[in-house]
Assembly symmetry: C2
Homo-oligomer: 643 residues x 2
Amino acid sequence: MQRQKIYLKMKDPKEALEIFFNKFDPKPILEAEEIPVLESPKRITAEPVFAKVSSPSSHSAAMDGIAVLAEDTYGATERNPKILKIGQEAAWINTGHVMPEGKNAVIMAEKLNQIDEESIEISSSSFPWQNVRKVGEDFVTTELLFPQNHQIRPFDLGTLIGGGAFHLKVRRKPRVVIIPTGSELVNFNTLSGSLHLKKGEVIESNSSILSSLIKECGADPIVEDIVEDKSEKITDALFRAIDSAPDLVIIIAGSSAGRKDYTAQIIEDKGELLVHGVTIMPGKPTILGNVKEKPVIGIPGYPVSAYIAFNEFVRPFLYRLQGSITPLKKLSKVVASRDIPSKLGLEEFIRVNIGKVGERVVAIPLPRGAGSVTTMSKAEGIIRIPSFLEGIVAGEETDAELLVDLEDIFNTIVIIGSHDITLDILSDEIRKNTDGIRISSGNVGSLGGLLALKKGTAHIAGSHLLDTQTGEYNTSYISKYLKGFPVHVFHLVTREQGLIIQKGNPKAVKGIEDLTHDVAFVNRQPGSGTRVLFDYKLHEMGIDPSRINGYENEEYTHMNVAVAVLNGTADVGMGIMAAAKALNCDFIPIVKEQYDLVIPSALVDDPKIQLLIDITRSKEFRKRVKGLGGYNPAKSGDLWKII
Amino acid sequence: MQRQKIYLKMKDPKEALEIFFNKFDPKPILEAEEIPVLESPKRITAEPVFAKVSSPSSHSAAMDGIAVLAEDTYGATERNPKILKIGQEAAWINTGHVMPEGKNAVIMAEKLNQIDEESIEISSSSFPWQNVRKVGEDFVTTELLFPQNHQIRPFDLGTLIGGGAFHLKVRRKPRVVIIPTGSELVNFNTLSGSLHLKKGEVIESNSSILSSLIKECGADPIVEDIVEDKSEKITDALFRAIDSAPDLVIIIAGSSAGRKDYTAQIIEDKGELLVHGVTIMPGKPTILGNVKEKPVIGIPGYPVSAYIAFNEFVRPFLYRLQGSITPLKKLSKVVASRDIPSKLGLEEFIRVNIGKVGERVVAIPLPRGAGSVTTMSKAEGIIRIPSFLEGIVAGEETDAELLVDLEDIFNTIVIIGSHDITLDILSDEIRKNTDGIRISSGNVGSLGGLLALKKGTAHIAGSHLLDTQTGEYNTSYISKYLKGFPVHVFHLVTREQGLIIQKGNPKAVKGIEDLTHDVAFVNRQPGSGTRVLFDYKLHEMGIDPSRINGYENEEYTHMNVAVAVLNGTADVGMGIMAAAKALNCDFIPIVKEQYDLVIPSALVDDPKIQLLIDITRSKEFRKRVKGLGGYNPAKSGDLWKII
């Protein structure tokens, strides 16, 4: 084990942050810079702002009407109105305008009766200063407008400008140097048009994500060139960064216990390793350190880990540098759609989809792999499971930090079930044609989708389950698995299922009968409609699955089957023609199958669902679906059965 | 009434917005522009984004460890470990790195036992693809990454860059031309250093506030020069704006029923007046129109009205132009601290301070005048009272739209009561010395402060109520008004009360006895400590209040008394020396009085309160207080009584 650096003393995140803050205390507050007031929104005041003029700066009309001397109006009543002469006892005035000399009240326009160009009749008297905003009513010269450490908002500009604060002192923006490390990484800018990666190359994107997050915190990111996994090179880059007088240095990757992870060692050798390893997941390999009295944070390389570590450590530090505190997260109560186990001793951050199905706001856990960058894009929330819990049980209410607006969630149609490429087109068309309705889809196979309807975690299930007895799709499965749960079944498409093979068919596969020969097969998971179909075909043809090389090798989507064929992991897999076409593979048709949308009858009248069905019937949708190849959308949107 | 344009047919805000949206329908969606991916956060996709490469693009290690061929590990157990040769059967690999040719599994570093530089012992077998992220596990070439009309977030950059979307098409930013109108207005930029306003001039700030709000909505504001209140000039400016092909034109002010309000007339003459007057308050005079098929919105000139009208009409329109929907407001349940009456038939937007006192989140209404720009800065929330309600009763729970973070509210100490300038210093010092603790203060006079404690709407009351029988401050009032409600009383300062007079004392006032002569007095409101003191002095000296010219003329703060003297509204007023000094008035000392902080005993151990008391004891606070003049902070922070 000598080559492994194990983080022996993991800290819990709160303790870790305290250690870091204490090190760079008492207050690592940045110096001030003076900026024009119009640039001040979102900046934080570095000194108190005092009014240089009063507001209003003169007595002003608070209404549209006429300015008068109150004493001139005394005695006027409905029965005994008074006539005032314009230009003498009365002067027209508009809201906000300065009161003329010698006048001390305003009579509202609506209460006047204008006799002619020169005279106005009034039928009640005014009192002094009625409908007048007196000098300093809002604030008075020398008064405090804002204390220091106040974050300026757009409407504060009115107070600042009105108070004569045309320039003001705000905290300088923190400068954060980001050093991406990893010999395998390439900068996407160097790839330009061509997307051809050399063997072993990986596109670097963490520095871009972190830059954008850093800007959100009001700080300036500086991204350095990617550094190879060599101790000297990383050390050099770190020292260069420190010489540029940053407020924080972030080193990305190289922070886990792997063989080539030099960051912790470098910080220990050249400075002070404050924290190495935090009891959070993802984000465990985070490093907090001090080199030459500059704060250095080592961020794990997996994008999700990087995001979590950023939120836990970088974000609070950047706000503190500016004399402010981290804005609170938007939270929502959610109900777990299924058990979510969690490791004791680690605080887990579970990404979830969130949907409102009926009256429940349901959280559906996404795959946990920290390497999946799309789970962050797909996630609508994050559930934190504290380190002392072994998880959350299905149906339990808990808080989720929202990554999207709650209104967006209420506008989301959750489609779970079998994977089909036309759902992507549906998703795009619904975004195009509606005000903010979105589709969130999860691939769990046809059967999984039907069960999700029953559990109340989806609005729609996508299904293509063949009843091998009757040759009919979906109905018998619905009757069996959704007993007593009425549903409407709408056609979405019929599509070509068949064998996806490499371009040019090097293994000379002609049909399912050839799969027992010298070819590597890639299968779909049990419960998927394609697996049902494949097993049925094998049975029909009397082929024993054990004779197929790779039968136990499972993928979860058509596209993943196609990609396995494309890159040679397998020679052949079963899937839809559109997947083969998308990846430029060849295809041997086997069967035309029916893919339906199954919708609980209780939800079918929901306007969102109706809009979705309308879109499946639209010309544009059908045209795009046809373009994929292997699809027949002739019956898209037809109500087929009510079960 | 012929000169008054009354908005006869006011629309409710929902209907008004519908009329406007329908006019510029079906979808006023902006064309696309291509931008580099790094500039895409917050922008909205104009077309679907498909993956150009798979992610991962090669089989990659999901763990740090060694890459192996699973078949080489078969048979390894705890009892019968296997030795693998590095460089042959095993290769060191780090998370995210591409798998070497011929390897299909990774064994975690933690499970290895390294024998020497060349050999590693394993004690369990792997299965194919264990700890490997296969090509396309995250997404596959041609897959939909984002539909159109998706707003890009920082972590979406990982998906975009990983998918090869280095440029993408987003909606062009809407261009909004802002035309401020008003002959009284001056551009603050022309004032530069000097703040000397000519008679009748008012500093224009609405265009700055609106620009900043427009930027928040992802649009580009263009602010035109201020236009005089002349119909031809406004018309010219409007046509110039329309010729520049804007997506929206905003005309500020000139939208109410006042005499010089030309905007509605111009829109009616030159185009189509869709809506004139909306049943909201503030914001009633809003205008929605169409000139040459360009949308034009007339925004009222009062800053608060402008803000409300912006939120109701401009914000949703700008989001719609970009193919998105308006983000939901942050809401919080609050309890009304007192009755809030509201006009039937108008939807009222009440600005409120929000404080957490004990377990209740309490909303305290701010003054309603739409002219007070600071009420927006001071407001922590807005309560909407629907048009069919006559108001909200004290203690009723309702929703408030939050203008600050809920965490900020929880960190706020609410001080209500008598106004004192040292509270500004306390507010600034606490922002300087703590992590985000804020003071929110309301001036309602000493007695009002004590009552607020009892009602649970404040943490601290500032009080200087003289018991004229005993000569002692505050105690007898507390005993009377806070019976059975235990409090701690801390000294804040002693201060000089006296007469504030004009510089050079032109009226030759020597003391209170001279107030019955030919001078104009300005008084404080009943319930304020200063009023109690003044009335006591009059009584002591046997002066009948009716003999004092201006006795009924009331102001609410020391500073407003001083400003009334400064600008000649009054010759003399009673107030603290610091106010006189701040505004360069002269001052005649009458009495040294005691100003205390009264804190419910139940709250006194709250760490926030303790921090505040610590700060009143600090050298820095005392030094700054002394600098104001007329203050003695020697006993600041001393616990004086527990009652």
